[in-house]
Symmetry: C2
Subunit: 208 residues, 2 copies
């Protein structure tokens, strides 16, 4: 039996409203900084009613974090050892940037969790995440050894892709403050810039 199948329409709707509100509040205030009042208000429910759907504040946070890492890593999983090396990396950058554009709150939720020392997903970082990165780092190292891309540290390459793409979601306020109102949407130009940046890094030259 699928648990969701036993839910009425109004249950599904309210659960979803709470998760959406929780995402908004937790991603901005962090777990400790968020209050049930803020979440309830954003969800359009009373505080006790909210607790009818979730047993505790933490339960909401846990549901939000679960699966987040998965979504976040899907683009890296898609990196194909059999594809064209430069294209594969650039496609990864592009997909990661799209995630920041389309799911900025999820990105900030993740950032908050890491800033607070990853109390809830620390294990997944040194487990799942490390394994996947090790695997893909080996792929990238192989491409470099074969002369298909320039010699780079694959770990720092991946870190730099994460840092730069997530920056547009996490530091959104700063980006907009600096660019001013004339350049309201930074994503098109950011995409072009990152494409140029990583292409110039990876394209092999001066092969001896």
């Amino acid at each position: 039996m699928d648990k969701t199948a036993t839910r009425t329409r109004i249950q599904t709707k309210n659960r979803q409203a709470i998760l959406d509100a929780g995402l908004a509040v937790f991603s901005q205030q962090g777990f400790r900084g968020a209050t049930l009042d803020q979440i309830a208000k954003a969800a359009g429910l009373s505080r006790p009613n909210l607790l009818y759907y979730f047993p505790s504040k933490e339960a909401i946070h846990v549901v939000l974090l679960a699966g987040l890492l998965d979504t976040w890593l899907d683009p890296l999983r898609a990196l194909d050892a059999g594809g064209n090396p430069v294209d594969e990396v650039l496609a990864y950058v592009r997909r990661k940037l799209e995630l920041s554009r389309d799911f900025p709150r999820e990105s900030r939720l993740f950032a908050n969790e890491i800033l607070q020392g990853a109390p809830r997903i620390g294990a997944a970082l040194s487990g799942e995440l490390k394994e996947l990165v090790d695997e893909k780092a080996a792929v990238i190292r192989g491409w470099a050894a074969a002369g298909q891309i320039a010699e780079v540290d694959p770990y720092h390459l991946i870190f730099s892709i994460w840092a730069m793409t997530q920056h547009y979601a996490d530091f959104d306020v700063q980006v907009h403050a600096v660019l001013g109102p004339e350049r309201a949407d930074p994503y098109p130009s950011a995409g072009a810039y990152l494409d140029t940046l990583f292409r110039s890094l990876l394209t092999p030259r001066n092969v001896t």
Copy 2:
């Protein structure tokens, strides 16, 4: 009269201990997530005694944030329009990375403030910060127009430098989880990587 001159030795010492403790707690928990108890305990004082030195929780936070942006921007201010373009940018990257290595808590304090929507330094972002970045962006644009560096969007160039250098402080936990215990200090290799990355981006080639 310098206010600090009128303080006794014990006042100076305790004030400093509180600010240091506040930095540790605020940078990890954010403003709302931090409690006076945590700060007092970290400073080795009782809670009422802490409030003898600072009138409120917010007062501690304000002192910590004041001057933070200044320190953060000093390396950018040092970018010299008269210097060698590529060297100037690479020196900026290096200095910014050193800041992350030497003051990771300050970096995380800043990250928390931005994630929360920059309630206390939003004005400085669209004022001071934007002005400085506009000025330096014009310098970089000039270098590109003169063919001294490759054509790049100067704003995204600066964003990418911020993102990648601060990443090692802000996402420290994740970086260490992925690299594992064997590579405890990521900074030497990060410095080399970033040097290569921005050198390959900026070095002009295929001049037509």
